[in-house]
């Protein structure tokens, strides 16, 4: 067994263990930290596949942004996770049974499955020679699939417009900051000097 295989089993085992801890840890903060550990191991697996760019993006985006956001939410909101988890064991037998039935069905389907010859050829897609990861991804996203990429952008625009249309309400009487008026104020109109008599107040 070569060293890459050792690392594969190391990363995979740690990832499965961390993923299991995410759902079983009592403390939600610990659960998020285990999630981050799982992300790091997934990044390691990507590295083994030769996909450095994806590995780095996974760390930057998921660990750097998403997981930190989770941590914030967990710490800011007072969610009683132990209460949410109650009944987990109670429903386990029924859920497990359904899961088992689905598993058997899937096994039946997969057993009778014939995979097209083209798919098998697609399983390993080698990197084009003389190209970095980033370049290959960029060529796929921005050249080969530019039409679909732009269409996806329009879908996001629609989602944004839709959210604004359905939720934005213009309230009357909201005080807005007007920097120009603020800067134009002079001490004469902003400050009033009064003589206060002793023991009188204003």
């Amino acid at each position: 067994m070569n060293i890459a295989a050792w690392f594969f089993y190391l990363f995979s085992a740690m990832m499965i263990g961390a993923a299991f801890m995410v759902i079983s840890a009592r403390n939600p903060v610990h659960a998020v930290l285990f999630l981050i550990l799982a992300f790091f191991n997934a990044a390691g697996l990507f590295l083994l596949l030769g996909a450095e760019f994806l590995a780095m993006i996974l760390v930057v985006v998921y660990v750097g942004a998403v997981a930190v956001l989770f941590l914030f939410v967990v710490m800011m909101l007072d969610v009683d996770f132990t209460e949410l988890k109650q009944g987990f064991l109670q429903y386990l037998p029924a859920g497990g049974l359904i899961g088992l039935v689905v598993l058997i069905e899937v096994a039946f389907v997969v057993g009778a499955w014939t995979i097209g010859p083209v798919s098998i050829a697609n399983v390993t897609t080698p990197m084009p020679p003389g190209m970095t990861n980033t370049m290959a991804l960029g060529r796929v996203l921005y050249t080969q699939y530019v039409y679909l990429f732009q269409a996806a952008g329009l879908i996001l625009l629609t989602a944004m417009i839709g959210a604004i249309v359905l939720t934005l309400r213009h309230k009357a009487g909201v005080k807005r900051q007007n920097v120009a008026i603020q800067n134009a104020r002079t001490p004469a109109e902003a400050v009033e000097v009064r003589k206060v008599a002793s023991r009188q107040g204003i």
Partner: protein, 477 residues
């Protein structure tokens, strides 16, 4: 670079809409409330420009953008229908939205985005483009259904459509992933090549799930549950948009997927199409009988009409597809006219939508009653009007391919359906007058009259567009 510009030339209508939307969003955001009318006018202009580009532009067929986009006669035909549906709906909607105080500049923008999604959908030559087009179209539709956000029924319609639409998208994606797993390619031509006449389990699974997703968008039975509620709850112009433009795009992509990706396993998909078709025709005919609300009636009517159109697809072949195209073209004209009538149903400034509100319309507004009755006769398929030809083409195609039971069920259910269309006519002509409608806005009235003239004209001179449907159908084979 010339490669890209050649590709862009093929999707000029899409480019016009996409660039126009971006400009209009900016215009609306900068100018605010007073830009409403201007945005609608520009949006209508853009839709008209897109139609002109398709009609006058190059007629060369090509697949560009690495197999994502196909420009062919079928696509151009369906795109013109879709754009015409959007354009007329948008023009008719102005007065209604203003009266309901929901005339925001986002309305035309969402219509444009949804139409753009439909164009992408109609031109999809692969599964990814199909999904992206479908989502772009649907996402804007969910928002449009709930556009009257302070109205509880509109909000319910939007939410219901959204939840069920997301479910159907999931089904469609599952089917697409199975197909990709089998074929190793997302392009329809590639899938057809891989299948090569062998109906293996994976392909049939994928086909079924894909059909479920598409049947949901067409609102074919048994995936129609959402249709009456959504069509009733949504603002009337939005319902008109759902029934006209959206139906065109949904039927177009169903034809394209089935005929270009699965030509080799016709027995498999024909079963599904016949099943959907019979159920839709029967349910559309019987369930509409008890309706009191005209929008709900039209919802069941559209379910039935999708069933009739699917008869042509089940028949297959060029004649069948040409029949579907002719059916959709005539259906577009009839429903636009009908909704022009429904949009004119306002009493004392408030919209009414019950069939009983039409009582005695012949005495209070004879012209409108005449044209509205014409639409009803045409929808029912009564001979001197275009609706008869629509049904004749698809049933004829079915008989030619030996699907006698399907044709018989179709004719019988269209007889049943005639009952509720004629009931509307009876209410208008023979019942005691209900309060007269307000003076209708000019746009719906013109649309109603033009549709009335067209349904007679298309009956008298069917040759004018039958050649076009035949040419369009040929490009799919």
């Amino acid at each position: 670079m010339s490669h890209l510009s050649a590709a862009l030339a093929h999707c000029l209508p899409e480019l016009i809409l996409a660039a126009g939307v971006l400009v209009l969003v900016l215009l609306g955001a900068v100018r605010g409330k007073e830009s409403d009318g201007l945005v609608t006018e520009i949006a209508a202009g853009l839709l008209g420009a897109a139609i002109l580009v398709i009609l006058l532009g190059g007629k060369t067929n090509a697949i560009v953008f690495d197999g994502a986009f196909i420009n062919d006669g079928f696509g151009r035909f369906m795109k013109v229908l879709t754009l015409a549906g959007s354009l007329v709906t948008l023009v008719m909607s102005r007065d209604f939205l203003a009266a309901e105080k929901i005339d925001k500049f986002e309305f035309p923008i969402l219509i444009l985005l949804s139409t753009l999604g439909m164009l992408i959908l109609i031109s999809a030559a692969g599964l990814i483009a199909l999904y992206l087009g479908l989502e772009l179209m649907s996402l804007a539709l969910y928002v449009l259904a709930a556009f009257h956000r302070d109205n509880i029924r509109a909000s319910e319609a939007g939410l219901k459509y959204f939840v069920l639409g997301a479910l159907s998208s999931g089904m469609l994606l599952y089917g697409a992933s199975l197909l990709y797993g089998f074929a190793g390619t997302v392009s329809f031509a590639g899938i057809a090549e891989t299948i090569n006449g062998k109906a293996s389990l994976g392909v049939v699974f994928g086909l079924v799930f894909l059909m479920v997703g598409l049947a949901f968008k067409m609102s074919a039975v048994p995936f129609h549950m959402w249709t009456p509620d959504v069509y009733e709850g949504a603002p009337t112009p939005v319902t008109a948009f759902f029934i006209t433009a959206v139906k065109m795009a949904a039927v177009a992509i169903t034809l394209r997927v089935i005929l270009t990706a699965f030509p080799g396993i016709a027995p498999q998909w024909r079963q599904i199409v016949i099943f959907l078709s019979i159920l839709s025709m029967v349910l559309g005919s019987f369930a509409a009988i008890g309706q009191a609300n005209i929008k709900r009636l039209m919802a069941y009517s559209t379910i039935g009409h999708v069933g009739f159109a699917l008869v042509g697809l089940a028949a297959g072949g060029e004649a069948g597809v040409a029949g579907v195209l002719a059916y959709m073209a005539i259906y577009l004209v009839m429903t636009l006219g009908t909704f022009a009538g429904i949009l004119s149903m306002r009493v004392n400034g408030a919209g009414v939508e019950n069939i009983s509100d039409l009582s005695g319309l012949a005495r209070t507004d004879g012209v409108m009653a005449f044209f509205f009755a014409m639409m009803m006769f045409s929808l029912a398929g009564v001979p001197p009007l275009a609706g008869f030809f629509a049904k004749w083409y698809v049933f004829n195609a079915a008989i030619q391919s030996g699907l006698y039971p399907l044709a018989v069920i179709g004719v019988l259910s269209s007889v049943v359906a005639a009952f509720y269309y004629l009931r509307v006519v009876k209410v208008m002509y023979f019942d005691e007058p209900a309060p007269a409608f307000d003076r209708p806005a000019p746009a719906p009235r013109i649309v109603l009259a033009v549709s009335g003239i067209l349904v007679v004209f298309l009956f008298a001179y069917p040759g004018l567009f039958i050649d076009a449907t035949m040419a369009a159908a040929r490009s799919l084979f």
